[in-house]
């Protein structure tokens, strides 16, 4: 008896799967805040914008390493232990520090493994952090970065007169 509806059932199934995939894809590309929720709410707007702390005070390896680095918990504490006012997030920081646990930040910017990139070289060329990372000093919750796609990199390389050789980035 299913023979008659077999085509319909299959079409429905295919439709369901396609919808599911579409939904999953859109979640993957839409930077839902649920996925990128950091262990404690850190505000770049407050630290880099209002307090005007230099990016490299915290990301202190950017000038001499491929990675910019995230600050150690001890570095956070150098300021925070002398602050009397405490928000729930600051209390959370204190808990990490007291428990001697590092903070498991969610990584928001990531280049694929086949891309060779160093912060050091780009800062040396005179780029500023906001050239690539946007105005993070105006963002209270840092969103996942727009995908750093090859075309985007190449446009800038072209404008700046930087190398467009494949081997520059794909070693």
């Amino acid at each position: 008896m299913f023979g008659k509806f077999k085509g319909v059932i299959l079409a429905l199934l295919a439709g369901t799967v396609a919808t599911g995939i579409g939904a999953l894809y859109s979640i993957g590309s839409a930077d839902l805040p649920v996925q990128d929720r950091q262990p404690l709410r850190f505000s770049h707007r407050l630290h880099a914008g209002i307090l005007n702390i230099h990016c490299q005070f915290c990301h202190r390896y950017a000038t001499h390493s491929p990675v910019a680095g995230v600050p150690s918990v001890a570095l956070c504490q150098t300021c925070h232990e002398s602050l009397s006012e405490a928000t729930p997030d600051m209390n959370m920081l204190q808990i990490y520090w007291n428990d001697k646990r590092p903070i498991p930040w969610i990584r928001l910017q990531r280049l694929p493994d086949h891309v060779y990139f160093t912060h050091e070289m780009h800062l040396f060329a005179g780029l500023s952090c906001v050239s690539c990372h946007g105005k993070v000093d105006r963002m209270s919750g840092t969103p996942r970065a727009p995908t750093y796609e090859m075309g985007w990199c190449l446009t800038c390389h072209e404008q700046q007169g930087a190398s467009r050789d494949c081997w520059t980035c794909h070693k």
């Binding site: 996925q35 390896y61 680095g69 969610i106």
Partner: protein, 731 residues
Amino acid sequence: MDLYRRTLFKILGLTAAGSSLPGCEREVHNLVPYLLPDGDIVPGVANWYATTCQECEAGCGTMVRVMEGRAKKIEGNPTHPVNEGKLCARGQAALQGLYNPDRLQGPLRREGKRGQGPFRPVTWEEGLSEWVEQIRIHAGKSAMVTRPVTGTLASLLTTMMDSLSGRLVMYESTGEQTLRTANHLSFGTQALPHYDLANADYLLSFGTPFLEHWLSPVSFGVAYGKFRQGRPMVRGRFIQVEPRLSLTASNADRWIPLRPGTEGLLAMGIGQVLLRDGLTNLSSSHQASFHRTFSAISLQAISADTEVPQEVITQMAHELSSANAPLIMGGGPAAAQTNGTTTLILINALNVMIGAIGRRGGLQWMEPQDPPVDLANAGLAGERTLMDLAMEFEQGSRTLLHLYRADPLFTLPPSLKFEGVFDHAQFIVSFSPFLDDSTSMADLILPDHDPLESWGDHVRQDTIPVPAWSVSQPVVRPLYDTKPIGDVWLDAAHRLGGSLGERVPWHTFHDLLKSRWQAVLTKHDSPRSFETRWKETLQEGGLWPSTIPHHQISPAIPSITYKPPQFLGNSSDYPLYCYPYPSLGLHDGRGANRPWLQELPDPLTTGIWGSWIELNPTTAQSLGIHPGDRVRVTSDYGSIEASVMMFPGLHPDMIAIPMGQGHRAYGRYAKGRGVNPVVLLGPNYDEQSGSLATGGTRVRVERIKGGSQLPMLEQSGKNPVFGNLQETGGL
């Protein structure tokens, strides 16, 4: 069911959509910062630390790449005199010792019957207290079997065992005992010479596997490069004489196969021609004694016995005499017979005849240095010494056994009955970091750090042109709850107290190491502060002078009589010679728990991850055996079963089997894999050196049911050296 076009498309669509589902999972990566920043670590930037490889006794200098506290890659130290920046596969695979999933992660105490486990984790305090209590109970009855160690650790272990009236035995199955004994008898020193291969222009090698595992293969590899290609107008000529075409032989200009055990006889033949044709550099006073030794057997008889034609012997002698800087080396299979020492003495005598002693491009000895302990005076033991130790355990004069990175139950043939030691010992302590065959029999295991986590040093004062005193430093923090063996012995000394505690006043091995190096560095560079010099030494990887005066050797070639090799097993029941050879990657078996080495193809057969029996195709044909057939190899002492690999570069009366597999324990990669050919060997010794004659047992081969494709890299049927094995005949 009828499959219509539309239905097919629907199913295809569904399948494609379904298969893409897993790709939609979103990856979440974490960025985990340091709690406290480490001033020496910049994330993303590698730190390189100089240290010393301890995978074999050569002591190559290494540079370890460390990223964020994890050791990632090991390379050679370019300034180190042993390896000049190069490193072998075993050195590279040392990382898999550090990160090995089967490493022991803390002290263990046996709960069940000895050898059956299980082991229960204990605290270090419990472990150390029990061990020290056992030392007290077994006062004066301790013994320690260790792999060869040098430098500060060797001196500490010697001091400790002396103080406890114990016996220290440094043993390695592919050791240099025969060579050292022969050199002692020929030249009056246990120290091995520097074989100046780089400056020689003709090399005659009697079996030395110097490009594989012999003495210091990386330094020989570097010198070999210079020998062949390092000089603009000279390309050294290289002749290898041995019954099996080894990797070294396959690099030679000419490989001369001969009957196993007759290398000394061939040396005699060459010497005889040199003397007959007046081609030696000997003084007239020496001529007579050399004539007596070398003319005892006629060239015709030598040729018949060695199976090397007389004209080839004559040609080799003439080539030697016409070369500017000829060099002769002997070892490997030539030393693995009952006449090994005699053979090597005859080879030494040949070197005297061609004037190679002390010459550039010949054999050179350096002036003896103020000893940090090196291998020459650390007291390496042959198998006979281990048998003496076994006797002491049987008689009850030894009752407490310590093991350190030595696995005699695996490396010694069962026919030697060394397992009796494990029956008679009342308590067994092992410091090995892995549960190897011997450590499985221990009562208490106090695992050592990995060398990449440890302080240490290594002294090499022979086989290279200048002495190399290398330092090992920890490049990563210890991964597990292990303790370095030096710290453990110092702790025991203080617990035992009395004069022992006063003899070793240091609390950590690091303190002891620094105090010894303070003496060395002050002597060599007194004006500057020790701390400055020590830091520089750590950065450089050790201390080595640029030049050193040569030591003049007066050769004393004793009047010796050639002894034919003795084989166990009569030739009618056991028609074939058996030659177990150390594997390039696994060596004597210690590399078997490293997957990188297991998957490293044997360069001649491309075999990986297993054992095989090498058989000459003509011999196989006469026995009705085909490639891949399963065979049983039997001697008077044991039997093994494995698949056959055709190997045309083998004496037809000989089979060869790689060593290193067939562990009963030693972790997931080694346990139960392949077969251990030493089970075939009988108690046949080279009496002068006390070393086991590993080539001295006869066997027979018979086809049995079964057979399977051997794991090989090359599956096309073509061998990288011999081509298509179906078409290639034997010798």
